[in-house]
């Protein structure tokens, strides 16, 4: 068989292998976890409280994505883990802030409710006394 006839056959045989070699590898699960965390939470709110942490997480997440696409899976995994930690910390700090506000509101509501309950108890005691007098 001459070389001309062999060339297309060889190309056909090697093409799938070449394509497989060029294809992007499966995304590391650490990067998937980071992306899920990113889409499932309010980043804007977290960014207000900890802009540096969120920016750093975003930068590392982007780096991890690029490394994954360049097939540097170990580096991609490492940076995704760090991005995850930073974003989770920013979210926990945001939650702390929200809870502190909630506790303040609850304390104010509690004080108001205690006052209302005391007024009502006094009124009830007066009316019960009047009723008792009437019943006599």
């Amino acid at each position: 068989m001459n070389a001309r006839a062999m060339a297309p056959r060889l190309a056909c045989a090697l093409l799938p292998a070449l394509l497989a070699a060029c294809a992007t590898p499966p995304k590391p699960k650490e990067l998937e976890a980071y992306e899920m965390l990113r889409t499932g939470n309010n980043l804007q709110e977290a960014n207000k409280k900890s802009p540096d942490l969120v920016a750093s997480a975003e930068k590392l997440g982007e780096k991890s994505r690029e490394e994954w696409q360049s097939n540097d899976l170990e580096d991609s995994r490492r940076d995704a883990i760090m991005a995850n930690i930073k974003l989770k910390t920013a979210l926990a700090l945001m939650e702390q802030e929200q809870l502190k506000t909630k506790i303040q509101t609850l304390s104010a509501d509690q004080a108001k409710a205690e006052e209302e309950a005391a007024d009502l108890s006094e009124k009830l005691a007066n009316e019960t006394e009047k009723l008792a007098l009437l019943q006599k």
Partner: protein
Amino acid sequence: MTARSGRSLRIFFAAAICAAFAASPRAGLAGEEDDLQREIDNQRVSVADLERLDELKATGDEITLLRSWLDEAWSLRSKHEYDQVREVLERTRKQADLIRAKITASKLRAQAATRENALADVRAKIARNKKALAETMKKKKALEGTEKVGDKGSTQ
């Protein structure tokens, strides 16, 4: 001093200088290894502190991860992969920060839940008192009505 003893002295000094040069990188490496070991040990102690701090058991998974990374750092140290050890230790420091933030959030969450329950109790008390007051007023009105009818009857 004889020429012979002078030569021995020179050889001795030369050997001492060579030994010092040969030993210095090794000593540096040993120092680095010791530093990393100390850092890993310190972080292991602080993991136990974090566990104690986590009274509500809100960060079990994160603490498990932290422990596994400290084990990884230890094993890399044994393989003399110092740069990688430093990378993993940077990660464990950040993970400890995350755990502390989560523990604080869990305590605040519990505090908010306690306050919510207390508020619900007061509101329930208000509702009960409102109902009791309405019933008392109703009875009072009814009694006042019968008294008025009685008064009218007696004047006629």
